[in-house]
Every structure is written in C-alpha cells, then in structure tokens.
Symmetry: C2
Subunit: 449 residues, 2 copies
C-alpha cells in the first residue's frame, strides 16, 4: 500500500504536490483545532469558523473571524503555533522532504524553489539545505521569543505568561502569521519601539525569502569574498527594500496632517514603518487601519496585493513578479525586448510567468471584490482591503472579517489558499500538463492599445 | 519654409506624429472655443475650463465641467461638433493625410492603423481608403442625424431646433463624443427605445474600429464570397460582443432587485444594454449612474478601463489588448507559449505590447486615483469611475467632474489625452528610439509568483 502511495506521488507534478501538501495541512489543522481541550469551556465555534481559522493559520495570513485569546486554551494556542510552523516553514522544508521521501530526483523547478541557480546541490545537499532552513528559522524564532519573553516579564505577572506571549509573538511574526493573543494585535505596543523593532526584524527575515537567508549565511561564512549573490536575491531584496521604503514614505506623507496630526515625527514614522512592514506580509498592526484615510488604505491594499518574496512565508503576486514587470516596461519603452539587469538577462519564460501571474491575480481579485460587494454591505475600500489582504496573506483588516457571510468567508479562504500556494503553482495545477504545439500556424499581426 | 516643415515631419516617428496631431487639434479647439460669439452672453468660462472642454471634445470623451446647452450659442455648438469630428475621425483620416502630405512611405505600422494585413494598398490606395473612411463615417452620421431629426420634430417647436438636436445627437453618438445639448444626456429618452436603439447603433459603429467597417464593406460588396476577414477584425469584434453582452448581463443581474426594482424586464434590459454600450466608449447615459449600486459602478469602471477597439473613436486599453491577454493566459496555463487562434499565430511582439499596455494603464490609473483621492474629498468609487471614464474616453460620470480642483482637472485631461492617443503611441513617445541590444548577457532564472 505504501509503495502505491509512493508511486502515486512520484507521478504527480511538483505544482500539484504543493497544492496537495496544503490541502493535507489544512485538513490536519482543522482536526487539531477541533481537538478536545482546544476551546475554552463554553466557547462554541462552528465548523466554518474552525475551517476559516485553519486556512488562515496554514496560509499564515492572520485574518480571523474569532478572538484567539478568548476562544482557545493554552493548549489551543500551542496548536495554533504548531499550525503556523506547518504553514510558514512547510512549503520550503516539509514540501522538499516529500520529494526526497518519494525519491524523486530534484529537478530544475523544484531546486529553484529552494535555490535559484546553484547547481551544486545533490540529494544529500538538499537534505542539508532543508535542515539548514529549519535551523535558521527556529534560531530566528528562538532569539525573537527570548528577547520578547524577557521584555514581557514587566507586563505579565508570571514568567510562564510572559514566555507564552513572547513565544507566540515571535512565531506569529517570523512566520508572518499575523495572529495575536493580546486580542488587539500590537496596539498595546504602539509606543513601544523595542517590541516593534524586534517584530519588524522578525517579519522581514520571514518574508525576505529563504534563498536570501541561505545566501546571506553563505556570504557571511565565506571569508575569501568570492561569493556572488544570485540574480534572484538581488532583485527580490532590492524590490523588498523599495516597497518597504515607499510604503513608509507614502503613509507618512498622506497621513501627516490627517491621522498623524499632533504626533511627534518618530511616532508617525514608526506607525508608517510598522504598517508598511506588515503589508509585506506580517499582518500585525500597531494602529487601527480603519482610522487611516482612504488613500492610505488604498496604498496598503496595493502593497498587500504585491506581497512578499517568493519562497518566503508571504503571499501576493510576489516582489520578483513586480520587479520583472517593471524591468520589462522600462526595457520595452526603450524598444528593447530583452531585459538586462545586473549583467544578466532575464529568461523569456519568466517574463511570461510574470504576465500570467499579474493578469490572473487582477482578475481573481476583481471578481472577489465584486462578489463580496454584492454579498455584503461593506464599504468598497474595506472589501478591497480584505481581498488584497487575503491574497497577499497579510492578514490586516479594516475589521469586517467576523461579519462576513459564509459565501464571502469561502471566497476569502480560497484567496488565502491561492495567495499562499502561489499563482504559478495554481496556474499549472488548473492548466494540466505541459504540451508543446505540434505545428505552427502562420503568424498574423493584431493592433494593440 | 514649407519644405523645412515637411523635412521636420518626415523625420518624426509615427507615434510622435499622432501625439503631435492631438496637441495641435487641442490647441485649435481651445482657440475655437474662445472665439467671440461662442459663449452665451453673460456666461464666463475660465481658461482651464475651456481647455478641459477642448481636451474632452478632441479626445471624444465627453466629461464636462460645464453645461453645454447653457454655456454655448448655436455657433458654439456647431464649433463643438466640428471639434468632435476633428477628434473622432481625426486620427484615422487626417493623421494618415499628414503622412501622405509629407510623402512618407506608408510603412508596416502606419498601414496597420488603417488596415491590418492587406498589403495591396499603395499610396493612392491609402488616399482612397481614407476618403472611404470619411465617407462611411459621414454617411453613418447623416443617416443617424436624419432619423433623429425627423423623430425629434415631435418634441421641438421648430424644424431648425429638431435638426440641430438631431445632428448634434448623431455626431455625439457616432464619434462617441458623449456630449449632449439636452443638459441631461439621454435621460429624457429613458423610455424611448427608438432614440436609444439609433444611438446604440451609432455608438457601436463608431467604436467597433474602422478596419472592421472597411472589411465589412468589402465583404458586402464582394459577391463571390472569397473574402477573408482579418484576424484583427475577428478578435476585436468578438471581444466587443462579449464585453457588450457581459456588461448588459452583469448590470441586469446586479441591479435586478436594487435599482431596477419594480421595472418591467424590457425597461431593465434597455437600461442595462444602453449603459453597457456606453462603457465601450459612448458616454451617453439614460440613467443617473450614481444611483446604481457600487458593484455595478465597479463593473462599469472596469468596462470603461478596457474601452473600445483600436483604430476606433474609443479609448482605454482596447479590446484586442484584453483579448490577447486572455488568450495568452489560457495558452500559458496549458503550458503553451504560442497563442493560436482562428488558424493563426499571434506575433510575440503583440503579446509584449499587450503586457506593456496593461501594466502601464494600471499603474497610471492607480496613481491618478490615489492623487485625486488625496486632492478631493469624493468617494472612492466616484473617483475610480471618473478616472476609468477619462482613460477609456467614455465620459460617463457620477457627477464629480465640475467639482474637481484644477490639479485634478489636469490629471483627468492627461488621462483623456493618453486614453485617446493610445498607450502604445504614448509609450514609444516617452521611450525614445528603438534600439536593439548590441550584446547579450548570460541568462539567469528568477523565481516568479
Ligand atoms: K500574515
Ligand atoms: K465618449
């Protein structure tokens, strides 16, 4: 029977494996969240809300229809952390373990998911790499948890409570889970720059992409200086930095005389920086985003739609997709069809992929916004915010999540799922097998734009 | 001196010629609208509003900060019609005349603007073709004017008045100008299916694209049946039809129990059909669009953003751009990189173009929405509606146009201009000369989406 499963897995396409992994992870998480002892006595959570929480946690989004601290026991909260790890570290480590398990030779595409262009990894190298990924992430989480737990001792009566809050906050930030057990995200720490700075570092390290972390580690341990960062690392890191800075700047400027009126510059700056970081897909907030003006909410929505780096705990169309679209546009307007950057040429197929991802993401988001607008009676901006937050697996919300009807909850769940899996995987899953055209038709031009 | 101008024109790129034509047309229109006798005595129109009206009329958009019938004399209204012709027929006929004038050999791209793939046209053929375009359009306008003028005699006291209203309505509909001299668009004819049907036909004939009209004429005059419609005509016409039907259906469904409550099915159907037609860029309305629900307003915005066929009087990203994006997505999800349709293969460069147009259009619209949101205090949907209406040169509005501040008016003017000129022309104008890469860099893959 085991060999039948192995055989079945062997014939699956990688994209389908990823999708399948998440289906299994969601089912498992759903079961974990229905275990006896998970809920606080007297708290009744219906099945759809448990499913919603499971999907939100596995996709490390953080949109929630319930209040975690008022719903789950300490045991339940530990389960939540487990699910966040399952989702956050999952795709990179466990996913690759599955491939190893079924003895499938790690092909180009699969290897790309863990490393862009370093061909030196053989099977045992991949195992080492995955262990390294897990080690790095657990290390980051441990350092974050330690810092926060020790700091939290001043706010909580017992060491145990401080530890629980510290560990949960660190896991939620590093996996970009966006959940909280304070009942009000990081609002209690709106003026605590230490907690915010730690959280920002954890969120960035989780969302910057595992290949970047691995390469950074290699760079730091490589004393002779011959190390070359991959094109992927350069592009994604620069784009991440641009988006973070641009988001901070835009929030700061737009809200300067509005929401930030009367605040000191550093208060306003930290509010801007933290919320900008959260769109890249942390999801934690230090301010009620529904109190921002609409232009800011729109900026946040666009940033969430873009999302984080590929091969990270974040979602959205991903930084590289936007980067390639921008590079393409610049080159095209200059009459060039090759994209040259950092002394390298972007492969044509990646330009195609970015196009497909952008078109599909826009169509999907538009359709979701429209459907939820028809189903609910919330303001347009609140719905746009909710949809982009789900697709970008950011998890920020203007507060409408618990009021959604079941059909809308299902739409949001689907968006979180697709946002996490990534549109490219989703596209190949729905699209079926690769096939080359067997013959060519004559070409004919069409007038465009 | 004349030869110097000819020499200057000869060295210009076609895209720059188109842009230049519109600059000249706007300047001329602005002067026409400032002539003595144009304004009704006592009506003071400031320069920015005259410029806005000129840009709106030349780009045949129809967004207006003034009430035409209360502002302009009959002479002024005749000037308006002249400007609409300048804008509507302009790019196709006068634009090509300029090329002929300067003796420039009609190259592939220029010929495509009047005909996609029929290589049989030499210089004198092009002259014939342009004359044919003008003849066809004037014929359509004349038939429309006659039908409407005769019909209008029942509403107006004098034949002269009926004629003026008939001619203006026909010109405004055929050029997709979207202006009215009733002071309230076609709302007075909300239950007059004859006037609406005539208008729908005129709008569609103007927005379906000149190549389609020419090919249709050739097809009808070609008795032996050997005529083959071009790929362009097939794609644009089918997409036009799909958008028209889909728009009608969506408005009908969404508003059925809302705005259309208590109406007969044919009333609701005609409201849906007419407003759907107008997004493809007619701009005339039979209902106050601000009374629709937000999902409908969003549907209308998306439809206006898409716009009409290329080489037509409409704007937006154009039907073919969307069609190629959709075809690309379908083929890509099946693992194919060639787009095959109707026994033809789409050229790679056209896929690139559609990508560039879509990315640029979205960025431009987003930026405009954001800026106007910061500048004004209108609802998000009203601003989205206004921006997409300007870019799609549709001209429908939720009523905020006259209240816009000068900076916002300038943004809307720029959008109308770019929407009319077309993003491809705009892109090549800002991008400078074509240049081939002189050397290739090594290719490197990047993780997408
Ligand atoms: K999140
Ligand atoms: K129009």
């Amino acid at each position: 029977m085991w060999s039948t499963i192995k055989e079945k897995l062997r014939t699956l396409k990688p994209a389908r494996l990823i999708v399948m992994y998440y289906f299994i992870a969601i089912t498992l998480s759903f079961i974990l969240l229905r275990l006896p002892g998970v809920h606080i006595d007297g708290q009744y959570i219906n099945l759809i809300d448990s499913l919603f929480t499971a999907v939100s946690a596995v996709s490390v989004t953080g949109l929630t229809v319930i209040n975690v601290s008022e719903t789950y026991t300490t045991f339940g909260i530990v389960m939540m952390m487990l699910i966040l790890q399952l989702g956050g570290i999952g795709i990179m480590s466990l996913g690759t373990f599955i491939w190893l398990l079924v003895g499938k030779r790690i092909g180009l595409r699969e290897r790309q998911l863990i490393m862009t262009d370093h061909n030196q990894y053989n099977l045992s190298g991949v195992v080492k790499l995955i262990i390294e990924i897990i080690k790095i992430l657990l290390l980051i989480e441990a350092v974050g948890a330690l810092l926060l737990a020790v700091y939290f001792t001043q706010f909580y009566e017992t060491w145990g409570e401080a530890l629980l809050h510290g560990v949960f906050a660190s896991v939620s930030a590093t996996t970009n889970g966006g959940f909280d057990i304070t009942g009000q995200s990081l609002l209690p720490y709106a003026n605590d720059y230490f907690v915010q700075t730690v959280n920002i570092f954890l969120i960035v390290l989780g969302a910057i992409g595992f290949p970047v972390l691995i390469e950074l580690k290699q760079f730091l341990s490589n004393k002779n200086g011959a190390f070359r960062f991959s094109l992927f690392t350069k592009i994604t890191t620069i784009m991440y930095g641009i988006l973070l800075a641009l988001g901070t700047l835009l929030i700061f400027i737009v809200e300067f005389n509005k929401r930030f009126e009367g605040m000191s510059w550093h208060e306003a700056f930290f509010y801007s920086l933290f919320q900008s970081t959260s769109t890249r897909s942390g999801g934690l907030v230090t301010i009620d985003v529904s109190t921002f003006t609409e232009p800011t909410q729109l900026v946040l929505s666009i940033l969430m739609f873009i999302g984080a780096s590929p091969s990270s705990v974040g979602g959205g169309i991903r930084t590289t997709t936007l980067a390639i679209a921008m590079l393409f546009l610049i080159n095209f307007s200059r009459g060039r069809h090759q994209i040259q950057v950092f002394g390298r040429e972007i492969h044509l197929i990646d330009v195609y992929r970015s196009y497909a991802v952008i078109i599909l993401a826009i169509m999907m988001s538009m359709l979701s916004i429209m459907m939820i607008m028809v189903l609910e009676s919330h303001s347009l901006i609140a719905v746009i915010f909710e949809v982009t937050s789900a697709f970008g697996t950011s998890g920020m919300s203007m507060g409408i999540t618990p009021d959604l009807s079941t059909p809308s909850k299902l739409i949001i769940m689907m968006l979180m799922f697709i946002g996490r899996v990534g549109l490219i995987s989703f596209l190949f899953m729905i699209g079926g097998n690769n096939q080359k055209a067997k013959y060519h038709y004559p070409k004919e031009r069409v007038i465009i734009g």
